[in-house]
Structures are given as C-alpha cells and as structure tokens.
Amino acid sequence: MLLDGLSFDLLLSIALIALATAALRARDLFKSIVIFMLFGLLVAIAWVRVHAPDLALAEAAIGSGITGALFLGALNRIERKRKGAASGRLENPVNGSTSGAWAVLLTLVLTGLLAMAVLSGWSYSGGLADEALSRIDESGVVNPVTAVILNFRAYDTLLEIGVLLLAVLGVYAVCEGQTMRDLRRRDRSKVLETFVHLLSPMVVLTAGYLVWVGYKEPGGAFQAGALLGGAGVVLLLSGRELPLHTARTVVRIILGGGFLVFLLAGLLVMKDRAFLEYPRASAKHIILIIELACTVSIGAILTVLFSGCANLLAAPSEEEGP
C-alpha cells in the first residue's frame, strides 16, 4: 500500500502546517479566512486519524463551519462599512517593526519548551482511560465521550454552556443600539431560495438523529447544535427575517432554556445525592432530555452569535434606547 499510516500522517501534518502559514501570511483577509476554513476540515481528518470521531464532527461543524461564518460575516460588515471610506479590500501590511523580532524570539523559546516538555513526558501513559472505560456501564450511555461530557464531568459541560450563554449576552450588550443591516433590498437569487427550502428540514432531521445516536455512536448535543446553527446562518443569509432580538420572551426562553434545563436536572436529583448525580436507572433518559434542550439552545445561540457579528441583530424601535 503506497500510503501506509505513518507517511499519511506526516503528509497531513506538513499540509496542516503549510495551510496555517498560508492563512496567517495571506495578503488578503478574505483569502486567509477561506484557507482557515480549509485548514479546519483537514484538522477534522486529523481527529479521525487519532481515533476521535466525535471531535472530527465538532471541529468540522463548529471549528471551521461556524467560526468561518463568523469571520466572513464580520469581514463583510467591516468592508461594507469601509466601502464608504473607499479603501478597498483589506491588505495585510507587512510589519517589519521591532515587535516582530521580540515575537519571534518569544515564540521560538515557548514552542521549543513545549516540544521538549511533550517529548520528555510522552512515555507516561497514565491517562484515565481504564478508569473511565471500566465505569461506562454505570453512566447510562455507551459512547465514552458522551459519558464523560454528560455524566462524569457534567459540571464542566454545564459551565461551558454558561460560557456560551454569556457570549450571547455579551453580543447583545455590544450590539446595543446598533441599527440592523437591511437585507431585504438585496435581490434574492432563486437558487438560494430553493436551496434553503430543501436544506433546512434535512438539517433539522440530521440534527435530531445526531442527538439520538450520540447515545452509543459519535454525536451529541454540541455537534447537533452546530448543525442547527449552520441552518440558522443559511436562513439569515437568504434574507429570511429571523426575530432574534431579546425583546421577545420566546427568543430568551430558547436561548436560556438549555442551560436552565441542565441546571434543574442537576438540582432535582439532589434529594439525597450530590448535584448532577443521576439515579442509575433513569440516567439515560435524563441525559437525552438535557441533550435535546441543549441542542436547541446551542443552535439558537450560534445563530445569534453570527447575526451579532454580521450586524443582523435588529434593535426594535419601541425599546427606548439607554
């Protein structure tokens, strides 16, 4: 076989590093972002090579998908604002300033230190693999990653959804009183119209499947949420008026719902157990409910994050400004 495992990995690593340098040094910002998204997809392949399928899905959906969309939305907004200032595409000024020299020195030192540290510590394979795998059956799910995320270290995941929620609140706080970009005037191409009609129900279906299959196969709330987020972004770009502003309580309930369900699930089991200590029998069902609620919330949150960056967040007029 021409490409045995090792040489493929070497090739992929070189490709990754080359793409990274290309993205960072590209003169035109738009080109950098596109290369960045390509880089994200290649990293998803790397996850698969290192037997981390869950992460491959997450990286592809969130790492390159949503993040790429955020970057493009922000770039588009900046360039549209600049069009007034007529300074064309954003060139990357080659900066020869002294700070560059310092940066090179510091980076070399730190990366060297890291590489040596990794090499010297690599042989200790102390990890929690056997500990975690032996107690999978008590966790109520089969997929080890979902077990760790939603049972062993559920507290981390809870706080992490809190972080996501904070990001949304932050975007609302930052976009306070910003006027919303009006998409309607753009001539909406028919192709985009039909594409969106076909795509969105499919995406919702696959997201549902991903949540369900997360029980034993790679999948789960975050990957499904990312898919929903992607669908939201496409809907927004196709000019569909999505009522995303916090003026409407239903929007707030969707955004905060996942976090609240997770918190209440952890609380309700607390009669004589610790926080988030699901009873063995019903662990599976509780985890599923939490995952469903979180998927919806994450999807909505990611859509709002995109609309925040791309200035699609309507600030309804009846709300008097600060």
């Binding site: 230190l113 890291l114 040596m116 540290a117 990794v118 010297s120 510590g121 690599w122 200790y124 394979s125 102390g126 990890g127 929690l128 500990e131 975690a132 107690r135 049972n151 062993f152 270290r153 559920a154 507290y155 981390d156 706080l159 992490e160 809190g162 972080v163 929620l165 904070l166 990001a167 609140l169 932050g170 975007v171 609302y172 706080a173 930052v174 306070e176 009183g177 916090t246 309580t249 707030r252 309930i253 955004l255 905060g256 976090f259 609240l260 918190l263 209440l264 952890g266 609380l267 607390m270 157990r273 610790a274 926080f275 988030l276 200590e277 699901y278 709300e319 008097e320 400004g321 600060p322």
Partner: protein, 494 residues
Amino acid sequence: MTQSSILIWPVLWPLVLGIVVFLFRGRTALWLSLAAAVGTALTSFNVCRAVHQSSTLVHEVGGWGAPLGIVLRADGLAAVMLGLSGLVGLVISVYSLTYFKSGSRKEQLFWPIWLLLWGGLNGLFISGDIFNLYVTLELVSLGAIPLIALAGTRDAIKASLRYLLLALLGSMSYLFGVGLLYMRFGVLDLMMLGNTITPDLTVYAAIAFMIGGLIIKAALFPMHFWLPPAHSSAPAPVSAALSGLVVTASFYMVARLWFYAFPALELAKLGQLIGLLGCGAILWGGWQAIRQERLKMLVAYSTVSQIGYLFLVFPLYNKAIEGSGIAWSGSILFAVSHAIAKSCAFLAAGIFIKVYGHDRISELRGAGRQLPMVTFAFALAGVNLMGLPPSGGFVGKWMLLKAAFVTGQWGYGVVMVCGGLLAFCYIFRVLEQFMTTPDENAPNLKSPAVMTYSVLVLAVTAVSLGFFTPVLLGILGVDSPVSLVSFAPEVLLP
C-alpha cells in the same frame, strides 16, 4: 472532610436565578435580581460558617470519585474568599439596583451577566479540579468583558477589546499547562496532583505556562497595561467587581496552585522572579497613580500597585524558615481588605461621576462639604489602601513586613514601605481636593441614598477588618497548607 451539599449552593443560586432574571423583564426582574444577590451572599456566608465550625467541606459532583469526576472543596482559603465575594457582591448588587436607569436595556443585560459572573467566581473559589478552574475562569472573563462594553463609550469598547485579547492569551497558556500536567500525570484533581507531582521538565514547563497565563489575567506588573483603561471606563459597579473580585480571583488561583498543587516542588527561583514583578507593580502602579488626572484611573492604577503586595507571598514564604507562614495569612488578609476597600473606592467614584458628571480630580473641589458621607467613605477606603491602622490593610502589611524580616529579605520590606508612602501621596492628593472649600455658587448636591449607604457599609467593614482578624484567621486556619504555630487566638504566647 465532610461531604455536604450546602457547598454547591453559592454557585447554583446565582446561575439559576441569573437565567430566570434573563427570562423576565421590568420590575419582576429587579426583584428577582435582589433575591438572587441576597441568596448568593447568604449561601456563601453559610459555607463560611460551616467550614469555620467543622472542617473542609467536600462535594463530589455527579457522585464520581476524585480522578474521574469533579470534586469541589471548600477549605479555609476558599471559605474566606467565598465570604469576601458574598459581601462585596451583595453590596455591588444593592448599589447597581439604583445605579442604572430603570427600565433601560443596559439594566436588563447587566443583571444576567453579573449573576453568571458571580456564580462563576464562586465556582472558581470552591473548585478542586484544574480544568474546572479553567472553565470557571473563562466564565468570569467572558462575563467581565461585556460588562465593560456595556458602558457604551468609545474607550470602554477599546478597553474591553484589549482586555479580551489578553485574557484569551492568558487562558490559552493556562490550558497548555493543564494539558501538559494531564499528559504527564493523568489526573486533574488538585489534591491528587499535589500528592503525585515529581519535579521534571514537563512539570516545570506546565508551571511556567499556567502561572504565566494567570499573571496576565491578574495584571501583574509587566502585563498590567490593560487594567487601568478597562477598570476606569467600565460602569462603577462593574469596575468595583473587576478590581475587587475578578483580579483577586486570578491571584487566588496562583496561590491555590502554588500552595496546594506544587508544594513538593522547589520553586524558590520562580518565587523570587514573581517577587521582583510584585515590587515593580507596587512602585510603578503607585507612581502612575500619582500622575493620573481622572479619579477612576487613579484608583485603577492603585489596583495595579496593590496587586504587587499580594504576589509578594511567593518569595516571602519558604518552608525552611519556621516563622515565614505569616506571609501566607498576611497576603490573604491583604487580598480581602484590598478587595473591600477597592470596590468601595470605585463605587464612591461612581457616585461622584453620577453627581458631578465627571471625575477629573482637579475639579472635584469641595466634595467634602457637598457630599460629606461619600467623601468620608472614600477616605476610609483610602486609609485601608494606605495600610494605616486599624484597617485590614495595616494588619496584612504588618504580617508581610514581619515575614520579610523573619526571612531576612529586607528589600521587600523597603519596597512595601515605599509603596505605602506612594499610596499616601495619591490618596491624600484626592482628599485634598475634597477638603478645599467649594466656590460659593456651587449648588448643594444630593447623593443618592441607597448608593451612599452601600458605599459606607463597605468602607466601615474595610476599616474595622483589623478587629475581625482572629475570626478570619480562625477560618483561614482550616486545612491551611502552611505550617503555622496554631492560628487559634486562645493558644497565644504570653
């Protein structure tokens, strides 16, 4: 080690009510926020009381054991910090009830973000797992930044952008450290890490990255430039929370790692380096504070200076010298009294801005007569920052000075005293303006009642902290990592 469920409440209460407040609007949201603030404070004090009476509280989240699951621990240090965040957080919440224009969008957004941040802070203080510390730290940082941006002014946006860029760098470097430690020892729990850690290259690299990241977040001297613009352009209650709690939390994490996860290692050289940075912070922060024109910038640079004091504990304490344990209790006491005094100073500055419309020091002439109570509170906070008796700052500085003498490191003693003198200059420069008689046509101004009394409560606590030292040390003594001749005041040398 008593397994108890009261430990999780200081985290859950603000998080749950934070979301519920987000769902409501108008008057009900305000009442809910007040209930959230009071509930969080009470639960924190409850944990303090429990730790003081029995011993370290433990809460295994999800019921899994130490290596696999996350274990929350509240020992003496965590209990003191929880008490601090309860007190300061409650006063900030009461203050902000009347600070924001009622019904404005800012007020609606302030409460959920602030409650989530507060929950994250409490989670950070009781967390016993290094990755969980990372997530709570992120929760706190990403909560703090939008609050700064909430001020809406141009330099608030710029300051929060700069703060976020640096905070990201800090947390990524911390994450690298966690990755290295996990790769090397395969365990994330602090206590287990402390027992299994052995000195080798990976561990030293991990320490360098973790402490480096936290130093950026704690704005220690070379990495302090983001703090003054951020803390001064934010709304008053936010800058009080930032200077009081968020910065102290980063210091707390460095202390937690240093004394609990890496006690077995020989970190004298790193300690001396941090000591040097601390001295730089004390002197540079003090010098810059004197030259500031705006009151909030002055108070922000005073934070940069006072943080230097906190980081002196690492060079001052060394296991070999018997009496040097006093540096540990001194720095924690100093942290507590600084947090209270600093948030009081910022809240008072907020009142000045609300009443006068600006905070240019040269034009705050005569505030002593027009707003006597607020000036009195600011003066009391100043007494604490200068480390004059009977404030907690005095006792903390006294202990650090004693440790400097016991360990024979005179330099730190001299720097501390110089820092005190610099503090005299910049505090009395402000007080002078307040004491001068205002020009005749100055209108007599009315200071908002609720805000004034909340500031007064903080000021009086800060000053009378000196007398609460036995209580604080009693709590701090529970499972303290430092071998001190017994803390309990009853067993005292004649």
